[in-house]
Subunit: 130 residues, 4 copies
DNA sequence: GTGGTCTAGACCACG
DNA sequence: GTGGTCTAGACCACC
């Protein structure tokens, strides 16, 4: 579920933290769920321990995860604090770029719309089964 | 229409090339249209000349723009080459991340859907007037 | 009066020992007073027995507390040994940091001064009633 | 002005970031001022480059510093965002602990008061000379 | 030249 | 056994 792609230019620690973010947003990781240990996850993903630690630190700073010395990390929340309208502006900016790239790549509007709907549905899927 | 945000951590040259990509995708810049000169754009945006040059070089590598010595740069195409299905996979990956972030920020599904629709409509708007 | 905050990143054993230190400094626990047993306090605070034991050990090393096998722990002193001028240097270093953080957080000088006075007063309050 | 104490159990990266925080709070580093480069500061303090980088990253996350690729770091603000009343609660908690330690070390109230006043004065000193 | 990322490996602190 | 810190050194991205 959490995969890393060495050919992706996104920093590894971001690939890790974003993967966990998606799992939290989608409900695969509920509040209170335990995350794998830094060492374990580093081993599974075949990346360095410090890289995973940095990802966890970032998630903790966002308030999504709570790390406790010697007791591992748990999901603390499924909401990040911050300005709602700023978030919406960010969303629009990101979507404008993503959609532009898709259209330039030759995907027509219908394909893009379908992909968007599918992604949104995926996101809710696990959540509903609560 | 092309703006630079120095507080955005996105590299300057990417902000430039992405802005031009969006203009091409949205039809504001049609095939054959002349781009401002490197020197001029650098002056307008108050950034380094090399930074703009790098953005143009990137666009040329994508095949969107054709730069000719001494005669400026023109839009060469509104399609980048590349595998269609790879593009769709990229799109889904990007959307999954963008939507996750929006949901974690507290935006509900309806707001996200509306934003997506609005962005897609914006993208077509200019194009239709062809 | 002694509370544990699991969301505080301060190690649990330090939260315990510091709480007892404050009680001794403020006179709530006088020299000779009996401390709760390790087992009892661990139960009350719902934390591990070893954690409390470690706090007591630290207090004993400072000379504030004397633990006697099978007879519990008592306050041995309300003074820690050590260089007076070193303590003053420590105090200044700590205050410089604490005040800086307060000012950066937007608290103005008057608020900070009032808080300092209030804390000092609190500390003496119980003591005076000796 | 910024010194590192290897005998202090405070993590090095925190010693660095706190030192810079104090300089900003005290006005020694005004908004817009350039910080030394990561490499330079690491060299001056004889610590590892990554340790300084982590301190800078932390300051950037707090919004006090703005780091720009290839162009170094500058002071972005002398205020951290956050709840004012939470900051005051933090202040009181910190002061309670610091004052307790001072009293236990044998410093009498007058000495502590004088130290507090001196620290506050120091903090304002540079600022006033604006 | 600037900062960013990643690795490898060691040691410590915590519960 | 958990995470935290620090180091050393390499390579890359940016302007």
């Amino acid at each position: 579920m959490l995969t890393i792609d060495l050919d992706d230019s996104t920093p590894l620690y971001l690939q890790v933290s974003q993967g966990i973010q998606r799992a939290i947003a989608g409900g695969a990781l509920r509040v209170g769920a335990k995350l794998p240990s830094v060492r374990q996850l580093a081993g599974d993903l075949a990346i360095n321990l410090n890289t995973v630690a940095r990802a966890y630190r970032q998630l903790e700073e966002q308030g999504l995860v709570r790390v406790r010395q010697g007791r591992g990390a748990r999901v603390a929340s499924d909401l990040v604090s911050g300005d709602r309208s700023a978030a919406e502006a960010d969303l629009r900016r990101s979507l404008a770029q993503v959609f532009s790239e898709a259209r330039l790549a030759g995907l027509d509007r219908m394909v893009v719309e379908r992909a968007a709907r599918a992604c949104l549905d995926d996101l809710e899927a696990t959540k509903e089964r609560k």
